[in-house]
Every structure is written in C-alpha cells, then in structure tokens.
Symmetry: C2
Subunit: 337 residues, 2 copies
Amino acid sequence: MRTVMTQLPNTPTSADVARLAGVSRATVSYVLNNAGTVRISEPTRRRVREAARELGYVPHAAARSLRAGHSRMVLMPAPSIPVGPLYGAFINELQWALGRLDYTVVQYGSGGLEGDEAARAWAELRPVAVLVPGAGLGPAGVQVLKRSGVRAVVTLGPGRVDGAHALLMDHDAVGHRAGRHLYERGRRRIGVVMPAEAGLDAFSRPRLAGVRQALRGTDATATELPLRYTEEDAGRLAGRWRESGLDAVFAYNDEYAMLLLRALQDEGLDVPGDVAVIGADDLMLGRLLRPRLSTVHIELPSGRCLAELVDRAVRDPAAEPEVHQVLGATVVRRESS
Amino acid sequence: MRTVMTQLPNTPTSADVARLAGVSRATVSYVLNNAGTVRISEPTRRRVREAARELGYVPHAAARSLRAGHSRMVLMPAPSIPVGPLYGAFINELQWALGRLDYTVVQYGSGGLEGDEAARAWAELRPVAVLVPGAGLGPAGVQVLKRSGVRAVVTLGPGRVDGAHALLMDHDAVGHRAGRHLYERGRRRIGVVMPAEAGLDAFSRPRLAGVRQALRGTDATATELPLRYTEEDAGRLAGRWRESGLDAVFAYNDEYAMLLLRALQDEGLDVPGDVAVIGADDLMLGRLLRPRLSTVHIELPSGRCLAELVDRAVRDPAAEPEVHQVLGATVVRRESS
C-alpha cells in the first residue's frame, strides 16, 4: 500500500485577504461580493481585489448564499436519456438567456433518484429556481422545493402540477398531426413505431395516443410497432411488412423513420407507393434521403421567453402560477407520404 | 403596476425539527447528515426523521459542505455548443458511473466566461473535483481551483496542463487516419471540410493538421473547404467542385459528409468515382445512404474508467497527475471512398 504525505496548498481565507490589504474582513466581504449598499472608496476596493488575486482567494458561493438567504442558481435535472439536436439547442439558448439575466444554470445529475425524492436532493443545493422537464414531479415535490426557499418551480411537460408554473408540451399533438395527415393521404392501416430504448416512453405513449385520437370514429386502425434503433431490428420489421398489411407508418421521429425507410426499400417495398412514411423533428438529414422524408415540425418554446418567465416568477414568488401551451406541431409533407 | 403581498411558506430550520422531536440541534444534524461516528438510538433517529418529514425540512448541502470542508460535487462546465450523440452518451455514462461512487455531477453553464476566469466561477461552488473538456484552462486556472479546495482537476483535451490529470484526446489522429486512407485509395487532391459554425474550431483545426501530416512528403495536397451546415451552402460548394479539381474530401464528420455527399450527387458527380467521401463518428445514418458512407470510428474513454480516475485523484490529491491517451480512431471503409 502506498502512503503519501498529502500536501495540499493552504486554502486562503478572507481573513488572509483582510490582513494583506490592511482592512477588516467585513470590508473584504463587501468588496468581493459587490454589496452595493456600502460606500467603500475605489482605492480600498482596488487594494482588496489585488490582495485577493495575489493570494488566490475566491469567495465561497455557498457561504454567500447562506448569508444572503438565496442564490442565483437555476437548477435543471440533467436529462438521463441522450437528447436530440432540437432539445440540445433549446438548452443552450436557455442557458445563454438566463446568463444574461445574471442567473447561473446548473444541470444536476440525480443519478437514479426520481420524482419527489429527486426534489429533496435538488432542494439541498438551495437553488432560487428549478426547471423540471418531463413528468415525475408531484405537488409534494413542489412543496419540498418551496419550503427550502426555491422561489420558482417551472415544469415543462404534459400536465400541470399544483404550485408550479407550467409550460405544457403536448406530445399528443405531434401524433395527432401525423395520424390525420396519413388518413387524409388515404391510408387506413397505420403503424406507429414505439422505440424499445429506455426513457422514450414519456414521448412515444402520448404520440401514439394522439394518432389514436386522430383516427377515432374512422375506419382506420393504429398498430403499435416496437422497434430498436438497429439495422437488424429494422430489417426484421420490414421483412414482416407485407403480411402485416400496413399501408403507412408514423415512425416516432425522423431518426427511426430514416432507419425504417431504408429497411423497407431494401425489402423491395415502394415508399410512398406501398407504404407512406412520416417522422417528426424536421431534421435536415431527412431532406437528403430519396424520397425526401415527410415529418412533423416541432417548435419548442424560445429559451428567451422561458428565461423571462423564470425571472418574473423569482421576483414575485407569490403570484398565481402561469400556464402556457408551448409546443407547436405542423406537418411538413415531402415525398415519402 | 401590480403589488402583491409576498407570502412565502416559512422555511423550517433544524431548530424547528429539534423542538418537534424533543432533541438537541446537534442530534438533528447528526441524524440527517448520517454522521456515522455518533451513537444515537434507532427510536431517536426515527423521531428526528419523522419530524423533518412532517415539517418539510431539508438539510442545506452548502452548510453541510462548509462544515465538512468539502463536498461530493463533481463540476463539469456545460458544453456551449450542441453536443453530438457520441458525446451525449459519454456524459450520460460518466454521470451514472460517478453516481455509483456517490458523487453528484453538476454541469455548470458559465455563460460566456472562459478559461481561467471561468475557473474562478467554478471555484465559488467549492466542488471536490472539476472535469474540463476542451482546451482553455491554463495552469493559473488549475491553481485557483486547487487553492479553493478542489482535490482533483482532470482535463479532456488536446494537451497537458500543469497540475491537472490529463485525458489526451488527440483529434489530429482522426484527420490523420482519414488523410492516409484517401491517399491509399489513390487520391491526391484532398478537400477538408471546415465547419463555419462557431465553437467547432477546437476539433476541426487539429483534424486538418492531421490530414496535412498524413500527406507530408507526398505529392498530395490538402485544401480547406469552409462549409455551413445548410443545403444551400453545400449546393454552392458542390456547384464549384468540378473547377476545383478535388478528387476526395474528408468532411469533418458524418453529418457534414452526408450533407455534402447528397449535394455532390445532385450536381451529377459520382461518389466515389469522381469524388471519394469520408466522414467521422460512425453514425448509424451514414450506413443508410447509398453509397454507404465511409467514416472514422472514434472511441471515447469509458465513463467508468474516467469516474474511477476522478475517485482515485480525490482520495490522493497529492499524487502525480496521471496522463492517459484516450481517443481511438480507426477507418471504417464502406462504399463512398
């Protein structure tokens, strides 16, 4: 076994800075935490900043937020499933917009905790606001957050949660648009791809429900088609296609649609002659295929609007929760349907 | 203007819990922070936990880490550019692996801060370890982090930084493999796509250098081809292809390669007859095109190995920094080259 004398650099404290600058610790704290209420001369401020730099002293955000009673931290649970390019761009924009309003975004990896249990872990960090994508957080979780001092809880998901602001993202609408489009194109036996990958249920179930709703009261049917995102599995599904009698498919999103479209073509089926195919997300790559892929274009809320909602909510935590419908879904018809 | 009486729920304190449970505040702290060194009876523990639940009390991670002098937080700057599926999966695995070792991963959106300035903002959160992808952090930044109490700094990038553990990700190798492959396929006038999108320089520059290195001392040339990720720009580039005289292209990654391949075909050029095309990343979608896309398969380090390095480094902060070469790059030849 190895034994090493651990020699860490001594962590400088605000007392060290005060000593070097020849001022009180309170003055150090006022200067470095930009407390605007206290009048301190520019030369003193400079002396404190130089001493801090020389010693390598950095104020402690946790200590500061303990004193101030709140932080500027906006916490988001980190997604546990790989995010698509659409969602990735949304997070980037949101981060930028909150940064401009002087918030710091922290994506928190809960590592297996879910729902209200996760809320307890988030609360321990004492963020000023929490943004929760997806379902899972309940009213009890919202209460845990609020009692710990969180001023704004905003959910982005299918429904409202008591006490939280809600940006309603209605994935039913995505399936509904796709189902109606295929029906209007004369299709009656419609397959709906359900990804076998974990974590996508939260999106695929409401999309399927949307297709079903669009076909209700008609002579058309919707059939679930489980599919793993592999060429082998797509080949298997395409190999059974003729006996299934399906004449159309809503393939969950563009990636699954591109995979299945190729497998259907390799099986000798004509798209859209034998099978109409539509995806969702409007990825650029779908336009590069032949036939070009039809898709449901999804519009996420703008990061700027969401950042402004967070700021409004933080400033007035007692205001009535806002509810906004934010997901836009429109069919972009190309050659595959 | 709206005026609202702000009525926040009273945030319960550990004193409230102590009063309700009929114990001292110290006992509350011992029980809720799982201090194993103190002997407290099971009925007392239960009484404290029930009181905490009833009141909705959550311990304060910041206060706890102030007392303990360190945290279990591993901080990573959140990427400011959209991450690809490869990197997204890597982050997820890393988060999971660190979670199993009882660390909490926090992705921190620095909002425009860069390099050693960003290090100061990270240090304020007093993480126990910091993982920095890309270049930008210098030795001064590492010192700021260490002096604030960070026990391990690990960089994932092109080079070593004094005082930090390094996982060397050598993007030159990706370009080198692509360049050598095209040369071996008999190509002599090789285009190299340079994405015009911000933030990708850190990858595209070394990849270009790798191609140049592979061609050094031969009769082949490498030509930079700026390209925006739009159909219009790809069409423009393809429209000028014949006069350029280029007989091959390394297209930065598979997404740019797929875009350009389609534009070249639409321009009536034969791939690979007139132009050989190779991408990088080995995305599944590349296999769905005809001709199937050749690519450089990139292997990132496993999240588990990286988590173990972090843990090792946290336990022994005085140990010599470890240096590992972690990026694997191998050509997967398909039909496009």
